[in-house]
Amino acid sequence: MSSARICPEWPQVNKSEYKGIWVYIEHQNGVIKDGSLQLIGKARELAAKINVDVSAVMIGHNLGDLVKEPIYYGADRVIYIDDEALSVYIPHLYASVIVNLVNKYKPEVVLFAATKRGRELAPYVANTLRAGITADCTDLDIDVKTRDLDQVRPTYGGNILAHIRTPNRRPQLASVRPNVFPTPPRDTNRKGEVIRESLDKLPKPNGSLLGVKPVIKGDSDLPPVEKADLVVVAGRGVAGPEGVKLLIELAKALGGTIGGSKKVTDAGWLPADRQIGQTGKTIRPTVYIGVGVSGAIQHIFGMKESKIIVAINSDPNAPIFEYADYGIVGDYRQVVQALLETLSSMRKTN
């Protein structure tokens, strides 16, 4: 094999020993995360290209029948560990268990959903294997000759797509943004192999989970911006908390939720977790309605993948119109009032 010098902190790897595609299955309270299921679908596509199997890897305690689910969604095999020592999620502990499984089975690709926990777990796994990892991919492909994973990730505010490869190390690890691939259909007639592994050496936990509590939403009864199909977004042009109130009315009338530009959340008219943009949330709703939002590049970054973009702005030259499917030039108070009235009168006649 290649005798090129490598860092002495890295183990030598023989690339040809590594075969197959793995999906790490994240689950919480007995439910598998959508992002993990979506990856099974994508992994099937990649595996078909290079003629290998898809394995789903699951660890935890009291897993029960949950271990069969990945098969129903398209995995050929499930490798799982069910052990009391894994009843509480501790990042370095979970990561070490995955590292041990990788070292035993030697897959060539390991995929993680880029959920909050996935983003926390994956880099520790990769680093401990002294392998490369690519973050938050939005697309994946595989080179049939070299078997290199082509990992596509948006960078620098989403203006550039970087294709990242790991030509000399195995496995190749990537985290993938949830909801970029569809969830495959669930078919309970699918058959596959289920392998139970046992825990070998485990690092000291050095920590424990004391408790979990749900966030109490004080600000409004509207859903968070990343969970809604329709988001009305307030910009500086709405001139204050009164304007935001009017937009909340509109959001409710349309069955959506409310978000804001940075200027609006900085001013305290909406809580920080409703900020859309580069330093806030990235959303991909079916409908985005920006009201009094100018369309600064940092804002556009967080909403440009919305299915339909609507802009309401008094300045016909506002940059946001360049990104809009439907634009209305006018004073927001009049337009939003008219929208509310039209909606209610159209609903009455229907």
Partner: protein, 270 residues
């Protein structure tokens, strides 16, 4: 308490970024650098612990020589010392090589640290890899998205509250120190930078420079050669084509026009 805060020199304006045509890496020479905004929240977290329990806060950054200025800003904000890790051999590093260099610097200069506090992610490359990787090199526990911490000096433990945005929950953990954490970006709003403290840092040359002469890291473990990942290709992201239909005129007409279009698209229901 000895708290280490690794910080990044981020590229402020992501729209004006240049990439090296050969390596596809970010061209940092000649680009003004700024402190990654979320690292100020991390530094704030560290300074609050110091205010409460005593000790010292040290910032360090692997950055080009121009990184000295923003490290002076971290002293202006309240850090006691700052280290600039700079050497041509470190250039072109991916997150594995960067985290190795940072971890080995901590190990060499601060072997008995209690806490490493990092930003949630950077605004220019946004991988959020580094904190977990530093933990992996040092073989230590770690936790992301931390919003609050309470130290028990006697027991040598820290209680950490963290926020998982996508699950909508707070979790509380207790860890033995040393531990590595990253701070949730919307928590711990940073205090102001004291200009006089920053100027003092410049005049007294408080930022120490570290090169590989001192660190003595194998050149095959750092920089481009110590990086398993390569940027194979870059392309402009294709924008989604938009209809760009604009309505000017009577607000009532405008409202009707919009609702009709959205209904036709099947995206709102009356």
């Amino acid at each position: 308490l000895t708290i280490i805060v690794p910080v990044k020199a981020a590229v402020p304006n992501i729209t004006a970024v240049r990439l090296d045509p050969v390596t596809h890496n970010l061209v940092r020479e000649g680009v003004p650098l700024m402190l990654n905004p979320y690292d100020r929240n991390a530094l704030e977290f560290a300074l609050r612990l110091k205010d409460k329990y005593g000790g010292r806060v040290v910032t360090l950054s692997m950055a080009p020589p121009s990184g000295k200025d923003f490290l002076e800003s971290t002293i202006g904000m309240g850090a006691d010392e700052a280290y600039l890790i700079t050497d041509r051999v470190f250039a072109g590093a991916d997150t594995l090589a960067t985290s190795y260099t940072v971890a080995m610097t901590v190990k060499k200069f601060f072997p008995s640290f209690n806490l490493i506090v990092m930003g949630e992610e950077t605004t220019d490359s946004t991988t959020a890899h580094m904190p977990a990787q530093v933990a992996s090199w040092l073989n230590l526990p770690y936790l992301y998205y931390v919003v609050d911490g309470e130290v028990n000096l006697e027991k040598g433990t820290i209680r950490l509250t963290r926020y998982l945005e996508d699950e909508g929950v707070y979790e509380e953990y207790e860890y033995n120190m040393p531990v590595i954490i990253s701070v949730y970006k919307d928590s711990n709003p940073p205090r102001d930078i004291s200009l006089s403290r920053k100027i003092q840092a410049k005049l007294s040359n408080l930022v120490k420079s570290v090169t590989n002469n001192e660190l003595k890291l194998d050149p095959f473990c750092v920089g481009l050669r110590g990086s398993p990942t390569i940027v194979a290709k870059i392309e402009d992201a294709k924008p989604i084509p938009r209809k760009k239909q604009i309505f000017k005129g009577d607000p009532r007409e405008a409202a009707k026009w919009l609702i009709e279009n959205l209904t036709k698209e099947g995206v709102i229901r009356l």
